[in-house]
Every structure is written in structure tokens, then in C-alpha cells.
Amino acid sequence: MRARVFVRFKTGVLDPQGNAIGNALRGLGFSQVREVRQGKVIDLELAERDETKARASLKEMCEKLLANTVIEKYEIELLP
């Protein structure tokens, strides 16, 4: 089973990289850009067929390593 994990800063946590990307986009003439928040995408391939079990272990992976839950939130997506 393949899975995709999105890790993003929580609302309210300063994202200086997002701000810099926003400034660069506006510098390129994309004046409609208001706010940019950037994050990470982590793709995983799991030796697991059961969706419930896969979700449970992915949640544990996120809590233990993939995200720092003090500053980041995560979303788990199972891929076909």
C-alpha cells in the first residue's frame, strides 16, 4: 500500500520560508498572491494491506517522527 503524508505548520506558527516564497512570487509579477505557507510531502510504501492498520501505524509514525506536533500538523492520505 502506498501512502502520502502532508506535514504543515500549524496556524499561527511563523513560516519564514512561505513568506519568502510569497515575496518572490509577487516579485515575479503575481500580484494576486496574498499568503504562502509551505510544507512537506512524504511518500511511503508500506507492506500492509489493511487500511485501518495502515492508518493507525502512519498516525504513530507522524506523532513519533514525521511531524513535530508542537509546531506542525499532518494529514494522511492512502493512495490507490
Binding site: 511563523l14 519564514p16 520560508q17 514525521l66 513535530n68 508542537v70
Partner: protein, 222 residues
């Protein structure tokens, strides 16, 4: 005082810390590889600065999962003194031995220069040889030193006298909340700070303001 400096792949201040400790404590610290599972019998563990695991995922995130860190966590819980400098501070927040997190510097630039600090708290094994409010200068060298914690945590740290080092007015190099440069754990046996006291322990290296930190530890732990 017996001490150990943990060496991770990518550590680059392990020898600086070991040299400062050897010079000041008169005893060579053990250099312990991150893959070892047990600490030697020591009074102090230093998590050194550097770029452990190339800062992959997040600074300090991989080191926080290393073998030796399990033993450090257990023993820190029982009162072992742990000093985390720079990347070591990042490891301490990643292991949750210290609250909060260290974000990318607000200006996005790697900052490498001496900064002025105030020693705010002297009721600790790490700072008892300083004077309260003493101005010291330590170098910083980091890209992810922007201390972040929620308001409740920040209030609690301040209320409990756990903010040990603060950047002097106008000196905050990274956007840290409330100018915080170094904090203590609840039991006051774990200190994490972004600036490098081990780099100012010899006049030949440009300063001696870091000596009192190691002397504090020697006095408290010997």
C-alpha cells in the same frame, strides 16, 4: 566531574565541548557514539552543536531517535545533568526533554556572529557562577534557532525562572519568542541554549565568558 560528549554523524562542536571540559574540569570526557545504547557512569552529558544527520527532516529530529538518546532520556528523568548546545538544544526539544521548538531563523539566514546575552537565572547547576543579570557574549552559529512555544508555555517558563539566557535588547539574531536563548527543564537538570559557551573558554579564541558555565557545573556536580 565525569562527563560525556555524544557524537552524532554531522556533529561539529563535539571536540570544542570536549576540549573545554578537559581544560576546565581536568578530566577528559568520554566521547560516546550515538549508536551506543548505554551511557558510561557520568555526572554530565553534553549534546554538542553541529548538523546531526544533515538536519534531515528537522534539525535534531533524527538524533532524537538515536539509540543513546533512550538512555539519556531515562537518566535525565532521574536527574542526570544534560547540556544541549545549538543542535543539542534542537535535539532536546525534539525529544521533549525541553518544551517548545526551534524554527527557521526569522530572516531565513544562517547567523554566525558573537551576540550579547543576559544571564537571567543563576539558580541552576549551569549558571551559579554567573551574576544575575550579567552581560555575556557567546557566539551563535545556526539557521534554526528561532525559539517557539505557545503563550502558556512561555508564561510558565518565565514564571518558574526557567529562562536562563536571554538575548540582550536589540541582539536577538533569529526572532526567538521573548528573546529566549536558553531554557531549563522543569527539574532544572537539563539546559538547552542556542549560543556556544564552549567556544568562549579561552582568550585565544576570542573570549572567556563561557568558562563560568563549565565552572558552575564542576562546582555543582563534583
Amino acid at each position: 566531574m565525569k562527563s560525556a560528549v555524544i557524537v552524532f554523524p554531522g556533529s561539529n562542536c563535539d571536540r570544542d565541548a570536549a576540549t573545554a571540559l578537559e581544560h576546565l574540569a581536568g578530566e577528559k570526557p568520554a566521547l560516546v557514539w550515538h549508536g551506543d545504547s548505554e551511557l558510561p557512569d557520568v555526572d554530565l552529558v553534553v549534546l554538542p552543536g553541529g548538523f546531526s544527520y544533515g538536519d534531515y527532516l528537522r534539525s535534531g529530529a533524527m538524533a532524537a531517535q538515536s539509540h543513546i538518546m533512550r538512555d539519556i532520556k531515562t537518566k535525565a528523568g532521574k536527574g542526570l545533568a544534560v547540556l544541549g548546545i545549538c543542535n543539542g538544544f534542537q535535539m532536546l526539544t525534539e525529544t521533549e526533554l525541553l518544551p517548545g521548538a526551534l524554527l527557521r531563523n526569522a530572516e531565513l539566514k544562517f547567523v554566525c556572529r558573537p551576540v550579547g546575552l543576559e544571564v537571567e537565572e543563576t539558580q541552576s547547576a549551569f549558571t551559579r557562577k554567573y551574576d544575575k543579570g550579567q552581560h555575556v557574549t557567546f557566539p551563535v552559529a545556526h539557521g534554526d534557532g528561532n525559539y517557539f512555544a505557545d503563550e502558556t508555555t512561555l508564561d510558565r517558563l518565565e514564571g518558574e525562572g526557567r529562562v536562563v539566557f536571554r538575548y540582550a535588547p536589540g541582539e536577538n539574531p533569529n526572532g526567538s519568542a521573548r528573546d529566549i536563548a536558553g531554557i531549563l527543564s522543569e527539574k532544572r537538570n537539563v539546559l538547552g541554549l542556542m549560543p556556544h559557551p564552549e567556544r568562549v573558554c579561552d582568550p585565544l579564541l576570542g573570549g572567556t565568558d563561557g568558562i563560568a558555565l563549565f565552572q558552575s557545573l564542576i562546582e555543582a556536580l563534583s
